[in-house]
Symmetry: C2
């Protein structure tokens, strides 16, 4: 039996990523965002939903660039802090979290250096939806910690130790065990 | 040290959800999608990236409605199959996967009944990005398996057993252990 709960943001699981932008005075800022996704293959684009009153919102409008940074589960406290505190009230929030940054190679946005994966994105389009705007950026460069990159070009996911955000419980989780190989296990239904 | 890999779809982790639509003859279809996210709080909206040559693409254009269905890790094989096989070639793919459907209560799209969470969405806007279009839908109703809903209105996540998709390894994973409470563990940086 199902219960009807009305409109809810019930997608699970979600990532917990850091959106890097520069403020008007070029101070690096980072906002935690779970509402983010890949939104195009060619060109590679990613998107993020940003509430209008967020410090990051104005930075995106001004600089038309951002980074998406993939943290580790061991960085959960930093991720949580960067999601709770606004750059409007605490301009040095990134430094207070103990995170270094460097300027993007391709765009005017800060790479959050301690995060093992960083995507540099140039704003491509936006969609107004209500309380939030969906900002889509074209990914111009991806930086990955070289100890994660395997010889075949894939990543060592166990070593990455990605962080997973579960809305319904407001909790961060680690990644669990692999259960199946994609583009493989489903073949059993082909002649079913 | 970081390696530069060029533009890549390196967001991790991602969900693996099922997008439910009706075809022109009202046959239920389901497409697996990892490129999906919440994109607005008020009204509640979710989005999904759909490649132009997908069967689901035309269904979305025609019906202007879809469901997003959250499967369990135990449904990985079904999820994988529904992502590999097109409704254009196999109109009965949902039935072949062994999944029942029912018509949405609020929109003209099929609920994938065995999935424990189902979001009914009315198409609200779309953004053309290249190979893919980002379709945003307003969530009009959410159905949740009643055995998952706790008394305080949150969900029993362990019982849900969500499926996690890791692009870089093309693998489905379970959810791992909780590492921290959100809106809490980050407080230690406030006076740092």
């Amino acid at each position: 039996m199902k219960k009807q709960l009305g409109p809810k943001t019930m997608i699970m699981p979600m990532p917990a990523l850091l959106v890097g932008t520069y403020g008007a005075d070029d101070t690096p800022n980072a906002m935690t965002a779970a509402w983010t996704a890949v939104c195009c293959q060619k060109p590679v684009c990613v998107g993020v939903a940003v509430r209008h009153n967020r410090f990051t919102f104005q930075n995106l409008e001004d600089k038309k660039a951002f980074t998406l940074n993939v943290p580790r589960a061991t960085q959960a406290a930093e991720v949580d802090y960067l999601g709770m505190v606004s750059g409007a009230n605490e301009p040095n929030k990134v430094a207070k979290a103990g995170f270094d940054t460097e300027k993007g190679h391709k765009v005017d946005a800060p790479i959050i250096t301690p995060c093992p994966i960083n995507l540099e994105c140039a704003l491509k389009d936006k969609m107004e939806l209500g309380s939030h705007t969906w900002f889509a950026g074209e990914v111009l460069e991806v930086h990955v910690d070289d100890t994660l990159v395997l010889e075949n070009g894939t990543l060592n996911i166990n070593k990455l130790d990605p962080i997973i955000y579960i809305t319904a419980a407001s909790k961060y989780h680690t990644l669990g065990d692999p259960v199946a190989q994609a583009y493989s296990i489903g073949n059993k239904f082909r002649n079913g």
